[in-house]
């Protein structure tokens, strides 16, 4: 079964990781491991699968199990500890506080000490410090950790990187690691789920960090699944308001409103859906490397807008019965702009779709998917060649709390709005050369980085614009 190595960098990356691992375990049918209220009854659905061959052989994807152990004996967290099961994960941070929580938390035994790289006192919200200073210094240590993790793999499919591009460590060191991977393991796909802290820019140098890391992402990643904080915040708030208004669910108190936790949870669910095709069997498997082939029509156009439904935030769990209307609703919701993890409307007027992937989990059948493809093709806007650029997938195993779910990925020209947004913020600061000295004083930081990065952003925006305006070429078929 295909395997993934996750690399969590910086505070944000590690916090996402902190919600990621419990959710993974939950999907595999382990009882609630976060120490909260037991949700065993909700997991029954998947527990049933877990005893079956399918789920437990896919357990390998995220965890390495010593050869002497068999998966079937693993039922609780302490079983995992006893049989020395380790998460295929590398934790990197330049300060200690977030990772320290891993070391004391309930999942502490899942992480290999050799795969944790920390330092003190952080990267000072400075991309240059992460990329140019910490990067080269920790290169060997990080490479060793990665090699160690690779040695435990039989069939490595890809690296999953998680970080935010706002701060210093995540953006700087994160993109440095990305570059390392590209240099040393060019054949393994690199998937990046990165958080753009738009709407919650709490760091003054954030535009620089975003722009500088975006350049690296354009150059070195195989696929990027960007996430905007303002979109996540909207999703989470809407969820929260819905619940407040509904009479069925007891009104949550303010204590239960944990926006960052819920926001991370949205990202985590997206990642779980994304890898589901590689991990679980289905009638149309979607291996994750297929996503690259299907969604990236031209090099450097690998930023994908993702969305899924149902989105139910962590603090409110409800179980659905998936009848036909509910399945249709799932499709509609997955394509709606409200559910995008970016502020983008994939079916809107300004968006020209270059590629779409729809993955149905649970009891979707091929007839359903055909209907959805048809609907998508009537609703969306396409270039002359991309109308048929739809990839469909079916995965038999539904996510932990539901009977069905749908993941939608879009490669749309509306992605240029994200780049324009970054560019604007960047220009605003750079015109005044504000805070530039923080970057230039880092010895290895080259002055032309800023200019290069500006050019790069503009080039990319231009490329998307060209796609939008591209006229149909009527070349006759060569005989």
């Amino acid at each position: 079964m295909s395997e993934f190595i996750t690399i969590q960098v910086g505070q944000c990356g590690n916090q996402i990781g902190a919600t990621f691992w419990p959710s993974v375990l939950e999907e595999y049918g382990f009882e609630n491991v976060t120490g909260g209220v037991a949700t065993a009854n909700l997991n029954n659905n998947n527990k049933k699968h877990f005893s079956s061959n399918e789920l437990h052989s896919s357990f390998n994807s995220f965890f390495s199990i010593p050869a002497t152990e068999t998966c079937s004996s693993l039922n609780t967290l302490s079983d995992l500890k006893q049989s020395k099961v380790k998460a295929r994960s590398i934790l990197v941070d330049m300060e200690d506080s977030v990772i320290a929580r891993y070391k004391t938390g309930p999942l502490r035994d899942l992480f290999d000490d050799q795969c944790i790289v920390t330092n003190y006192p952080g990267s000072g919200n400075n991309w240059a410090e992460g990329f140019c200073y910490h990067g080269p210094r920790y290169k060997n240590k990080i490479l060793n950790s990665i090699r160690r993790a690779i040695d435990k793999c039989d069939s490595l499919q890809g690296f999953l990187l998680m970080f935010s591009v706002g701060g210093g460590t995540g953006s700087g060191l994160g993109t440095y690691i990305l570059q390392l991977l590209d240099d040393h393991f060019p054949d393994v796909e690199r998937f990046v789920s990165c958080v753009y802290p738009t709407g919650t820019e709490d760091v003054i140098t954030c535009p620089y960090n975003m722009a500088l890391s975006t350049k690296q992402l354009i150059e070195h990643a195989s696929c990027v699944f960007p996430v905007e904080n303002r979109a996540l915040l909207d999703i989470v708030t809407r969820q929260y308001n819905n619940n407040k208004n509904s009479t069925l669910v007891p009104k949550p108190t303010i204590v239960e409103y944990k926006p960052f936790h819920d926001m991370n949870n949205v990202i985590v669910n997206m990642l779980l859906h994304l890898t589901s095709g590689s991990r679980f069997p289905g009638n149309i498997n979607v291996d994750i490397n297929e996503i690259c082939t299907n969604m990236v029509p031209y090099p450097k156009m690998h930023f994908l807008s993702s969305s899924f439904s149902p989105i139910v935030s962590y603090s409110t769990k409800t179980s659905y019965v998936s009848s036909q209307p509910i399945k249709d609703e799932l499709f509609r919701a997955a394509c709606s702009r409200n559910n995008q993890l970016l502020k983008i409307d994939p079916l809107g007027l300004k968006s020209v779709l270059l590629g779409t992937t729809l993955v149905g989990r649970g009891n979707f059948c091929i007839s359903d998917m055909r209907t959805y493809v048809e609907r998508l093709q009537t609703k969306g806007h396409f270039t002359s060649w991309s109308k048929k650029s739809v990839k469909i997938g079916l995965c038999n195993i539904p996510p932990a709390e539901h009977n069905a779910a749908m993941l939608a990925l879009f490669n749309t020209t509306a992605m240029s709005t994200l780049f324009s947004h970054i560019y604007e913020l960047f220009e605003k600061l750079y015109n005044k050369k504000a805070h530039v000295h923080h970057y230039t004083q880092v010895p290895e930081f080259e002055k032309n980085y800023f200019e290069e990065c500006k050019d790069n952003l503009l080039k990319n925006i231009e490329a998307y614009k060209q796609m939008e305006n591209c006229k149909q070429k009527t070349l006759p078929r060569a005989i």
Binding site: M1, S155, I284, E290, C365, R370, K388
Partner: protein
Amino acid sequence: MSVVTLQFGQCGNQVGQALFLDLYNDIKGDTNKISVGKRSNIEYASEAANKWFHINKSGEWEARSILIDTENKVTALANKNNKNNNNVPYKFKNIVAKCHGGAANNWAYGYSCKSQLLMADIIEGVRKETEKCDFVSSIFSILSSAGGTGSGVGSRTMEVLRDEYPNKTMLNTMVLPYRDGEVVTQNYNSLLTLAKLYDITDATYLYENDAVHLMCTKTLSLTNVTFHDINSIIAQQLSAVLQPVGNVSISRVVANLAAHPRYKFIQVKSAPHVSKEHSKYEALSSWAILVNRVRTSLKSNCGVYDLKSATEFTRKLKCVGNMLISRGNGAPSEEDIKPLTDVLLYVPWLPSQVRLTHFHQNRNFLDLNRFLVLCTNNNSVCLPVDCVLEEAWSLFTSKAFLHHYKKYDIDEQYFHGAFEDIEEIIRNYNSL
């Protein structure tokens, strides 16, 4: 006489598993329902069993088939009966599946890269299977042209096997993807597979997901079609064609259908197809009715296409050759099969005696009283092939997705070659 089967990729393996289930069920048919005497039943069953299965020393049945995939999720289920998780009564012993990640829906990746990892094992597997047979008449492959494994690894393997076994008949079953899109690069992959395999194989059974899907909704009146349904139909038709009929080697005859090197596509039509609930109330149809149904279904897959090009084709439908197999008690009379001997159906240069070959097997098929299957080689294949070409060309002129192929040395020149080959095929069929 035995057939060695190769199942490639997810689609190939799923269809293959359905095929062997049908073959087995047919061989083990209900002895109360078979329409022939005990002795001829045993004759039929042992011939069919020998054709598809190897019975080892301890009496277990092993399918003469090699399962090839780049990941093991599908092949792992091969020896399970999907529905109730019971083991199937026979074994797939020869599984070549290395999971280093799939072929990424990329023909070039499968053809140049993944196939190298698997080739030694595949050749070894084929050798082992052939050694178990007294006489191998043909090599039979099943693959879909949409993904990367079936199309890419399949193309490369058949190429190598052609060199290794130059005298065997090579039959290929190719499933074309839904036209509205299953995989974004499906038309590139289909184009390259068609171009590669057309020359290598003796004949290609062409299936379209769209057409079979239409069959499921129209004749079986299913609302929620699953791949299981689609695969079952393909499996039923293929086994009806390939199960023994008397002393003829069917694969040889099929190859004769595609005697002219320009025309090698074969489509399979069959009747009756009735939904399970309806079959209880269905009266036994006479051969004449079934022949008529098959005759009309010659045009039926045109329903998938827009009206203009479809009507144009039904008007000038021309066959290069047809083979009819009837299975069930009592052979159809000359009069019954008359609709298929119509002179206007065939190209004028075809001598009358080779237009329609008819075979009859008295033993019934899969416990059905009567089953009729027609292999036809006609110009309606232009429709699906032309669609593939059109879509692929539209992508190609925009240079979209080409960088994925270039990474594995399949450059624009190579694509141009493939385009030319397929244009040639379409031109030939169109000129009928």
